[in-house]
């Protein structure tokens, strides 16, 4: 089915069409489930003035952080600056436009963007700086603010497996924002660990149907870990204990 074969063979092809000042929605939570090589390709291209929508912005030298360091990002929509010193520095210095967005609102904005819902009400952020300039309205005696959907010119997504039609399966908490980003991109590019034959994925178990996906590329991943926390090998798994 040539018309549905989404697989591309080079990163250049994967990110073809990305130009200055576009909006890119990126999956991932921290460094978990990020499209490492698609980010590297954006760095290589040197595309400038990007608006990046992503829960975090990587760390200084990995993930989306490399695009910050390389001054390719004009604006970030994110929930957490956290562990990225360069992000915090550029933000505090006013060199970077930052729209801090609550994590759940950010997720819902992406979903709404993909689902053709232009706006929704949420209690999240009522009475906080997030509510400034937004309509407030009461439903059943409770206050909510109006939040608008987000869509991107591109979405960059990391999945575990894909088939050639772009049907996707994610793995563990590397799923996070990825299915939402996938739905909200005009052009959705997906990097995967494995490309399987069409028909190999159980239709009941596909997380993102191929209809949302435009391009698929097989990559190899570093999968850097931010907080390597362990327990001794001789210690039994105790219920709930961390």
């Amino acid at each position: 089915m040539a018309g549905f074969d989404k697989v591309v063979s080079s990163y250049e092809e994967a990110m073809a069409g990305l130009t200055d000042n576009m909006t890119v929605i990126a999956g991932g939570f921290g460094l978990c489930g990020i499209a490492e090589n698609l980010i590297a390709e954006i760095k290589r291209k040197g595309t400038k003035g990007l608006t990046v929508v992503s829960n975090n912005c990587g760390v200084d030298d990995f993930g989306l952080g490399v695009l910050l360091t390389n001054r390719q990002i004009k604006k970030i929509v994110a929930s957490y600056v956290g562990e990225n010193a360069e992000f915090e520095r550029q933000m505090m210095a006013g060199e970077l436009e930052v729209e801090l967005t609550p994590q759940g609102t950010l997720a819902e904005k992406m979903r709404a963007g993909g689902a053709g819902i232009p706006a929704f009400y949420t209690a999240t952020g009522v009475g906080t700086p997030v509510a400034i300039g937004k309509e407030e309205r009461s439903f059943n005696g409770r206050d909510y603010i109006l939040e608008e959907a987000i869509t991107g010119d591109f979405a960059i997504v990391k999945a575990w497996k894909a088939d050639r039609y772009g049907n996707l399966v994610f793995r563990k908490t590397a799923r996070n924002f990825n299915p939402l980003a996938a739905s909200a991109g005009k052009i959705t590019v997906v990097e995967v660990e494995e490309i399987v034959e069409v028909g190999e994925l159980d239709p009941d178990q596909i997380h993102t149907p191929g209809i949302y996906v435009n391009r698929v590329i097989k990559g190899t991943f570093e999968k850097r870990i931010e907080q390597r926390t362990t327990r001794p090998a001789d210690k039994q798994q105790v219920k709930g204990e961390l």
Binding site: G82, T122, R171, T229, K239
Partner: protein
Amino acid sequence: MALSREQIAQRVAQELKDGYYVNLGIGIPTLVANYIPSTIDVMLQSENGLLGMGPFPTEDEIDADLINAGKQTVTMATGASIFDSAESFAMIRGGHVDLTVLGAFEVDVNGNIASYMIPGKLIKGMGGAMDLVAGADNIIVTMTHASKHGVSKLLNNCTLPLTGKGCIKKVLTDLAFIEIKDGKFHLLERAPGVCVEEIVKLTEGELVVTGEIPEMQF
């Protein structure tokens, strides 16, 4: 004496009930997991998309694809489930989580909470905290009662940008367990060896003290 971080976690753990789905924030709240009474079962929700968080992995078990909201490597408990971030916050925003525990810089008598930024100095971002405080009915805030310089963090009005408005009903500090209602703080318990007067002194907002205030039991 003021409670240690571990003691705060231990006291919070007493509020857990069998069958609770619980979201524990970063920092002290995370420690609560270490004190779940053996007689009950709870499931931990991690807002990055995991219900049923297990303990840290052994070196052999480490999986970069399996982290918690604090970006720490974790494991899954038996019966865990994985979902995307929109589903995770649907759970939270829809009020399906039974108890949320999170930290704060300040709370006030109206149940407002500030926890994510100090203008001009520190902007971590709110992460999922705004969603958590807006979505949960049952929240316990853990924090130190006052700064190192003795400045109260339990205020008449929060001075920092809010994380949520009118949503906090319970605060556990290193000195006291406090309920917020009717625009006042109400002292429920005091840390062992801490007298009521000290708590009153370090609480800026009106603190109601009714009768004998029991010491926390551990």
